[in-house]
């Protein structure tokens, strides 16, 4: 495993602390911007399908749906271009930057580790293993829930966007034109886009829980890693 | 088999030459008839077959009852709206929903707009060519045509120049050699009796009516958003009314009401000055042709419709007559109950469906729709290339509905006969007027022409009822009530776990009922018995023949290979096969 930088020091209680530089600045920046964008997307998306109670008065006095949809689209652009940027970083960044996109699918040992992690979460293993990057189970769920999920949301989202942007707009040419026929009709694309939002919500719940838990349980830094970039091992 | 007597008193003889008419054109949907003619070309046996089935009753299972109107409306685009209305009534009946008076008025206006439209289009575009020889119109003298037209009506489009222009266009059309829809017609047949002038006048009105019919349905567009297939909702009507406040332009407002009003006025005028005079003029040349009575002198049925009092579907509230006449006993009108299991039943012994016990009928609440396409053992040809059907076996996609075991005729004539014997002046007076004008006895009513005449009179009645309900709507608005929907039970969570209901209308072609069972907010069973299912029904286990078959018996054909007389009589029912099989 290629380690960018190594750092030794004293931890509390006089124990040795190992620290590795895992997440480079662009990844960290992307992570938090991305997380924020997704929160905005999920909240606004929810209200696009189930709007807030109506406003009275003149239509020209309000722009509630317009604003919600605008926020969705603005966050969507951040999300889409952030994702593209993240893909770019997978090429130029360090080893960990690629974990989101490639699974060592044919690596038996890796699968063994996946099952080990699974047992750990099921309280069947007494002690966690330590990983410098993602643990294999995390990587697996990141790949399926996040990478594929994000791709699906982006493709369907841009297809829906192209419907409003009209024929001629790049989103229409690149996405709407084939995504709608693929699903059969626009209504189905809405339905699946919305379902994918829920899949994302579930992913985020598990992800955040796991991050906090591991931070406490596995005696290695996680949350701060996503802030500072350094992974600290506490013993 | 040679000669045979049916339970309902008709004699059948299928020993003569078998003539097949398939497709029967100028109707809705797909109908086939086979008849046997004797050596004088008189029809001695008739077999009527619905040749399509879509399975809507099967498709409706498990769906939201509030959506059912949209599905059932697609049973037919010709009598568009009547199934939707019947459907929302069935759901309202099941759930005990009361609709506002305005919704009742609007629904009645829409139903009457359908009547006028459907009857008018039927007369001119589906039926007229059975009586009118288009080619003979070329020989007419435009000046005498004008005189004829002016003698029967003060409709303005009747100058000699008007008819001359029209005749010239017609000439050019015929000379082009491309006769379009008039190709291979039975022109010149001795069965056509109109003089050339009457033919020319009728052709002119064929075209005028084609232009005018699209105006009538604008009423559906205003209240229902479009036609064919306007929108309805369970609990009332979706078109909110706003005649006072801000935003009224986004609802039914004064301008919309005026538009409806003006269409109603023009419609009344067209029916009065074009349709009814044409009908009487044409009939006067065919008074001698009194075939096609069939079941009409024996057994007729009407559920009644057009509630004057919102939510009251009893006979006293219904402006169209309700009741049943059987065995030709015109002194007694029986009460009809749609939920009594002993009254309405459907049989499938001769239909392409399967029951556990096909010797018995099923009330629609217990109805079953399971297709079973098998040909009788005496059928000729193959499964996918039928030459002759075997009426001894299964032979139609229509079920056979019966009222207390009787095959019944339904439709305008049935309604008028019942209204007549109930001595309701709205129906009796116009009939007496026509009989007197044509100088024919009451029995002339029981015929192909009687059916066609009743439809014309009913069209006029319906046009006037639109005015009545539009005035009622305005009066109610004036009194401060602009409610159009009752949403108390809109949410399925307010419904009982299980319920059942029946909705009915008199569709243009006759008695229409939808029976619904709702369980856990979903449709558990949905059964429709449709006017043309009654009229076009195949035989039942007791051997009763339906109205189409009965009406063809005894009719002489001018030419055995030209089904003009068969078309005439079948068309007088205005068959709708998509409806009948659904």
């Amino acid at each position: 495993m290629h380690i960018e930088r190594e750092f030794r020091g004293e931890g509390p209680g006089g124990r040795q602390v190992l620290s590795y530089y895992v997440y480079e600045a662009p990844v960290r920046l992307w992570h938090w911007v991305n997380a924020l964008a997704i929160v905005v997307l999920a909240v606004t998306g929810y209200f696009i399908g189930k709007p807030l109670p109506s406003m009275g008065g003149e239509a020209s006095d309000h722009y509630v749906m317009g604003t919600i949809r605008f926020a969705h689209f603005a966050a969507a652009y951040v999300f889409v271009f952030g994702f593209i940027g993240r893909i770019y970083w997978a090429f130029v960044g360090n080893h960990h930057a690629r974990q989101l996109f490639i699974l060592p699918f044919w690596d038996k040992a890796w699968w063994g580790e996946v099952f080990f992690e699974l047992r750990w979460y099921l309280f069947l293993e007494p002690k966690p293993k330590k990983y410098i990057g993602h643990n294999p189970l995390a990587q697996l769920s990141m790949f399926f829930a996040f990478t594929l999920g994000a791709t699906f949301l982006i493709v369907t989202g841009l297809a829906l966007y192209g419907e409003g942007a009209q024929a001629g707009h790049w989103t229409h040419t690149l996405f709407t034109s084939w995504v709608i026929p693929l699903f059969g009709q626009s209504q189905d694309v809405h339905t699946w886009h919305r379902l994918a939002m829920w899949a994302f919500v579930v992913f985020v719940m598990i992800h955040v829980y796991a991050a906090i838990r591991e931070d406490i349980m596995s005696r290695q830094s996680l949350i701060s890693t996503m802030v500072s970039g350094h992974r600290m091992f506490k013993d | 088999m040679a000669a045979q007597q049916t339970a309902n008193g008709f004699s059948l003889d299928n020993s003569g030459k078998r003539v097949v008419v398939d497709p029967v054109c100028r109707i809705e949907g797909h109908l086939r008839v086979e008849v046997n003619v004797d050596d004088k070309n008189v029809i001695r046996n008739a077999v009527s077959t619905g040749t399509m089935w879509r399975g809507l009753e099967v498709i409706l299972k498990g769906r939201d009852p509030r959506d059912a109107w949209a599905f059932t409306q697609r049973i037919c685009g010709v009598c568009t709206g009547t199934h939707a209305l019947t459907s929302v009534r069935s759901v309202e009946n099941a759930l005990g929903i009361q609709i506002p008076d305005n919704a009742n008025s609007i629904r009645n206006i829409m139903q009457m707009a359908l009547y006028v439209h459907d009857h008018l289009v039927h007369f001119y575009h589906l039926h007229a060519l059975d009586w009118v020889d288009v080619v003979s119109a070329l020989k007419a003298d435009p000046k005498r045509t004008s005189e004829l037209a002016q003698s029967i009506s003060d409709w303005p489009m009747s100058s000699p120049g008007y008819f001359r222009d029209l005749q010239n266009r017609l000439k050019k059309f015929v000379e082009s050699g491309q006769l379009g829809p008039f190709s291979n017609g039975y022109w010149g047949s001795p069965a056509y009796k109109l003089p050339p002038e009457a033919n020319l006048m009728a052709v002119a009105h064929y075209l005028e009516a084609l232009d005018f019919q699209k105006e009538i349905v604008k009423i559906h567009a205003i209240y229902g958003g479009k036609n064919p297939h306007p929108n309805w909702i369970v609990g009332g009507m979706p078109c909110a009314i706003n005649i006072n406040d801000v935003g009224g332009v986004g609802a039914i407002n004064m301008e919309r009401l005026n538009l409806v009003s003006s269409i109603i006025d023009r419609t009344i005028e067209f029916v009065e000055k074009v349709y009814v005079p044409d009908l009487l003029a044409i009939a006067s040349f065919y008074k001698g042709w009194l075939h096609g009575g069939g079941l009409s002198s024996q057994s007729v049925l009407s559920y009644g419709d057009v509630p004057d009092i919102a939510n009251d579907y009893s006979a006293k509230s219904l402006l169209l007559p309700r009741g049943a006449i059987i065995n030709g006993d015109l002194t007694k009108v029986h009460e009809v109950d749609l939920v009594d299991p002993a009254q309405i039943q459907e049989f499938v012994s001769h239909s392409w469906y399967k029951y556990a016990d096909e010797s018995k009928g099923l009330h629609p609440f217990d109805g079953v729709t399971e297709p079973n396409f098998v040909l009788g053992k005496n059928a000729k040809g193959t499964k996918t290339n039928i030459e002759n059907l075997d009426e001894g076996g299964k032979y139609s996609w229509l079920k056979a509905p019966r009222w207390r075991g009787h095959a019944m005729e339904v439709g305008p004539l049935a309604r008028y006969i019942i209204g007549y014997v109930q001595k309701n002046p709205e129906f009796k007076d116009p009939v007496d007027m026509v009989l007197k004008k044509l100088d024919v006895p009451l029995t002339a009513l029981f015929s192909t022409l009687g059916r066609t005449a009743a439809r014309g009179l009913e069209c006029q009645w319906a046009a006037e009822k639109m005015r009545y309900f539009q005035d009622r709507l305005i009066a109610n608005l004036k009194a401060g009530d602009s409610t159009t929907a009752n949403v108390e039970k809109w949410d399925p969570s307010t419904w009982p776990q299980a319920s059942k209901g029946v909705g009915f209308t008199e569709a243009p072609r006759g008695a229409l009922g939808h029976w619904i069972q709702i369980k856990d907010g979903k449709i558990d069973n949905y059964q429709c018995i449709v006017p043309t299912t009654w009229n076009g029904s195949p035989r039942d286990p007791a051997g009763n023949i339906g109205a189409f078959e009965a009406s063809l018996l005894g009719t002489p054909l001018a030419k055995a290979d030209q089904p003009l007389e068969i078309l005439r009589t079948l068309h007088s029912f205005d068959p709708c096969l998509a409806c009948s099989t659904h």
Partner: protein
């Protein structure tokens, strides 16, 4: 009543001069001397009207009914002057074998030159006998007449997608035209029914410009099906403002607010209703207070209730939609997380205790 092709062009606003110009251009493009132009003109002026064979399968005839409502051009002018409606069982004078004879005649005489208009669709179950005509399955008639036609117009949602008879469980296996006829151009004009003027618009386009209209990927003319109802709905300002009808006949309904919350499918439906409108421009569904039910879309019958905005997902059973599935899963996962956290805390406490006693022992 009988107009030539030239008359039709004139009616469409094309002048004598541009007609003659069109003829000389045609002459040059065919490599003919300019002297041929008048001959071409003569031929066009006297050209026979294009024959149309209009077949009916499983359907409700609403498409025919809609067609005759056309105001511009008038249905009578289309049928009698612009084309030659040689076969249409709903309108034609003849019946039985006299009617069927016309099919063979047109098929031979106008091989490759007639338009086949199809209303409704063929059922394929029961060897096609859920719809038969002349004793034979409709699908045979359709294939027979399609073989020699120039192009097919698939009228309405029946012919285009399957429509109501193809709604689940589609007991007759009603099948849209393009799935049965694969070797001819099929122009889909969906809608239940389509708008009259859209129908006649498509036909007159073909006659006037002598070519098929430009189609989108799903085979619909772009000019009428390129945008959603929602894109040009006059209630759109209320949508953007967040002003919705919340229940039938409420204050918002009386002011004509947006019908989105009542299940309006305008945002997902491609059709011309909000612009062309219906019945001579008098109204369209939304204008009369009911949401769009998406009647021109593929499979619109099977998306759950017409009154739901978040529609059903059949794959998860009739009763589920994205929110129900999503909330159930999120709820389940939330509970699982809580349980997991509790167990974690518990075992951690145990481990700590263990550690503590060990340390104690060591201390001893």
């Amino acid at each position: 009543m009988t107009e030539t092709f030239y008359d039709v062009l004139r009616r469409q606003g094309i002048s004598r001069r541009s007609f003659m110009k069109f003829c000389s251009l045609t002459a040059t493009s065919l490599g003919l001397a300019p002297a041929f132009a008048p001959k071409i003109a003569h031929a066009l002026e006297n050209k026979p009207r294009t024959p149309v064979i209009w077949l009916h399968g499983l359907e409700c005839t609403c498409c025919s009914e809609s067609f005759i409502r056309s105001a511009h051009p008038l249905a009578k002018d289309v049928v009698l002057s612009m084309l030659s409606l040689d076969y249409d069982d709903t309108l034609m004078a003849a019946a039985g074998h006299q009617a069927e004879a016309i099919l063979d005649e047109i098929k031979k005489k106008y091989k490759g030159n007639y338009i086949l208009a199809v209303e409704g669709n063929p059922p394929l179950n029961e060897d096609g006998m859920f719809c038969f005509q002349g004793g034979k399955p409709f699908v045979e008639k359709l294939k027979y007449m399609a073989a020699d036609c120039k192009a097919i117009i698939a009228w309405g949602s029946c012919a285009s997608w399957g429509c109501v008879q193809a709604a689940k469980p589609n007991p007759t296996r009603a099948t849209p035209v393009h799935k049965v006829i694969t070797d001819k151009p099929v122009i889909k004009v969906p809608g239940c029914p389509p708008i009259a003027e859209v129908m006649t618009g498509v036909v007159t386009y073909m006659l006037t410009f002598e070519r098929l209209p430009e189609l989108d990927r799903q085979g619909r003319p772009k000019m009428f099906y390129g945008q959603r109802i929602h894109d040009k709905c006059y209630r759109r300002p209320h949508f953007d403002a967040g002003q919705f009808v919340e229940g039938w006949d409420d204050e918002a309904a009386r002011r004509g607010y947006c019908l989105y919350k009542m299940g309006c499918k305008g945002p997902t439906t491609y059709n011309a209703c909000s612009t062309t409108r219906w019945n001579g421009g008098v109204s369209f569904p939304i204008q009369s207070g009911h949401g769009c039910i998406g009647c021109s879309e593929d499979g619109f019958w099977d998306k759950g209730s017409f009154y739901d905005r978040i529609t059903d997902i059949k794959q998860f059973g009739i009763e589920s939609n994205a929110d129900k599935v999503g909330m159930a899963v999120a709820g389940g996962v939330g509970a699982a997380i809580a349980a997991h956290a509790a167990v974690t805390a518990l075992s951690r406490a145990k481990v700590k205790q263990g550690n503590a006693s060990q340390e104690q022992k060591q201390g001893e």
